[in-house]
Symmetry: C2
Subunit: 172 residues, 2 copies
């Protein structure tokens, strides 16, 4: 990945000779962020695959696990996990088929479905979550606590910036 990165920076530099107004550092950061994100996701899923889950499935399961009631509706999960309703349906199908969650019609609103984590689902979380910690920790090894806080601050700032790029301005 390191070699790939160097090559990329070199290429961006050459392009900048043709477009002098190219924001060099920002483009490098963008590519770097995308590359690191992609590889981080890959590493995560490499750990999840043996259990037959991908990151979306896992995230959904964890969201149910983390709820005090152990249940939620698909649309709630969509909001929290930044996923389309379409995809949520598919994920729920997978998890239900695996016996990790149940699907039940809601009593007070018959349009709704309530997804609830099962005992097997909780058992699986207890089984696969702890072995994930070393990898997560490893990805940020040799980064000081202060730097981690800085990183979080900067990433949050980027998040805010992207939000305001997407929705030009939210005003009455």
């Amino acid at each position: 990945m390191h070699e790939c990165l160097d090559h990329m920076v070199e290429g961006i530099g050459r392009v900048r000779e043709i477009f002098p107004e190219l924001p060099l550092q920002e483009v490098v950061l963008t590519r770097l962020l995308l590359m690191v994100g992609g590889n981080l996701l890959g590493e995560l899923e490499r750990n999840l695959k043996p259990h037959g889950l991908n990151d979306s499935d896992f995230r959904t399961l964890m969201m149910l696990y983390s709820r005090p009631t152990g249940s939620a509706t698909p649309s709630e999960l969509c909001g929290y996990a930044q996923q389309g309703a379409t995809n949520m349906t598919r994920i729920a199908n997978v998890l239900v088929k695996a016996g990790l969650i149940t699907r039940a019609p809601s009593a007070e609103d018959r349009r709704r479905i309530v997804l609830s984590i099962t005992a097997a689902g909780r058992r699986l979380v207890r089984k696969i979550l702890p072995p994930l910690f070393p990898s997560v920790h490893g990805a940020f090894a040799s980064i000081s606590a202060a730097d981690k806080r800085t990183l979080e601050r900067l990433l949050r700032q980027i998040a805010v910036n992207i939000d305001s790029l997407t929705q030009p301005d939210t005003r009455p």
Copy 2:
């Protein structure tokens, strides 16, 4: 995205009450990184879509554009762009069909194919690249030059860490 983030941090906090050894900050950073990366990519592709390209297509085109010769073989591009050969074949098909690159057999090694950017390809780059700059710049707005350098350093460190997670150790 901000709301979604807060909810996520809250959920991670609840899970940590059950697994006290959960590396809170690292997990938050991981999720933050993945979320920001995803949205950044989305924003990028939103700008590319009107031209019928996605990020992979665009990256590949840019890689050819940035080469002094304007050409490369698929496997070279795979290495630089972190993509499988399979996908490179498909991307090349797309770009060839759009008339942005050409596919020609290599003279000195007949297994190889040489992809070369066409005049139309260069024209398209000149057309769509500059309008991208404001978005890229905007994503990192209100971040100081020093912070940007810090961000680059930290992301590079994470890249190195992930690399060494993936390949336990490269030694003779």
